[in-house]
């Protein structure tokens, strides 16, 4: 089987050289459980929790982006490090290129506005709607956040309901709570 792993790694290299790898992915062990991270040449296109069923997520990417999908861990080294630094409290931002091609229109605008919410602070769906110039689009903001293709990287977990309750989260309420708790502890860079 080791030989097949070597062959696989070689195939990935050749595919990259021939510009035939459209979606590279790897699965990271994280404090939030296994995270699937997928990237196009433009940047991270999808972060998925185990709850979402990684096989289904890959099938969806094959359908909506390209079926030229390969497991290519080395292609995602920088992203993996950035995520680990954030999730383990060593950095306040996951600074990696992001590809928002899975979103269009207003949803894309909402998700694009998420990085403006600072580490350790929160906002509400209503405030985010106002911040994007559509104060009445609270429900649309909610569904945009719920469909954020790159959770954790773009911090939709910092958006709460107006009554202060957490609201939904793609990775489940426990993951949202964990991220909010992480950001609530005093930040001490290594």
């Amino acid at each position: 089987m080791n030989h097949l792993n070597d062959l696989h790694a070689d195939l990935v290299e050749r595919a990259v050289a021939a510009d035939l790898l459209d979606v590279a992915y790897r699965v990271l062990d994280s404090p939030l459980g296994p995270l699937l991270v997928a990237a196009t040449g433009a940047g991270v296109v999808r972060v998925a929790f185990a709850l979402e069923d990684h096989d289904a997520v890959l099938a969806d990417l094959a359908d909506r982006v390209s079926p030229r999908v390969l497991r290519a861990p080395a292609r995602l080294d920088a992203t993996a490090h950035a995520l680990a630094d954030y999730l383990e409290g060593r950095s306040q931002r996951v600074e990696v290129p992001v590809d928002l091609r899975l979103l269009s229109g207003y949803r894309r605008e909402v998700v694009g506005a998420l990085p403006a919410i600072g580490y350790g602070s929160t906002t509400t769906y209503a405030e985010l709607a106002a911040a994007t110039g559509r104060p009445r689009a609270v429900r649309a903001v909610g569904s945009a956040c719920a469909n954020n293709p790159v959770p954790v990287v773009l911090p939709c977990h910092r958006v709460l309901r107006s009554d202060g309750s957490e609201g939904g989260y793609r990775g489940g309420p426990e993951a949202k709570r964990q991220l909010l708790a992480l950001e609530a502890t005093p930040f001490a860079p290594a």
Binding site: L7, L11, D63, S66, L70
Partner: protein, 173 residues
């Protein structure tokens, strides 16, 4: 439809037509070992890896455009056999010492760079597409193709001829 080996098959969408293409990673996972066995059976150890990579690289290139009802196992086996021949020929050209035996040569000489053709093949009517695929990529006999897609040998011959005519009209070859 010939049965493919059952390993990991449950995760791979079968040829039920119209289904979205599976992530290519699943194709590698499911068919990698068998393609390796084909390459090992046909080449010197030094050439096996190259043929394996060439096979999956060609498959990766063609994957989005292949007909959804293609028998992936049979198709990959055919591509692997062709790549083995290519790799073997390249090796023979490079060296002066004679080789003990020649590999089997595909009955139809489809060229290595014809993968783009499958874009157009994918738009042919189902029967023509299947027959063309089995015949000109797979090098299968019309009798064998008739067994795979149903109908008679003559019907297979006719579908291949109609398909080729349609492709020629598009000035493909």
């Amino acid at each position: 439809m010939p049965s493919s080996s059952g390993d990991a098959a449950s995760r791979f969408p079968r040829s039920d037509g119209g289904a979205p293409k599976a992530p290519f990673e699943l194709v590698v996972a499911e068919h990698g070992p068998r393609v390796l066995a084909i390459c090992r059976s046909r080449l010197d150890a030094a050439d096996v890896d190259d043929a394996w990579s060439e096979t999956f690289l060609a498959a990766l290139s063609a994957w989005p455009d292949l007909p959804p009802d293609l028998d992936v196992a049979a198709w990959l086996a055919t591509v692997a056999r062709r790549k083995c021949t290519d790799v073997h020929r390249a090796r023979v050209r490079r060296r002066t010492d004679p080789v003990p035996e020649l590999p089997e040569v595909p009955t139809q000489g489809a060229e290595a760079e014809d993968e783009g053709l499958w874009r157009h093949v994918a738009r042919l009517p189902t029967k023509q597409r299947q027959v063309i695929t089995y015949r000109y990529l797979g090098g299968l006999s019309h009798a064998r193709i008739a067994g795979l897609v149903g109908g008679t040998e003559a019907a297979s011959r006719r579908a291949a001829s109609d398909g080729l005519k349609a492709l020629r009209e598009k000035e493909i070859r």
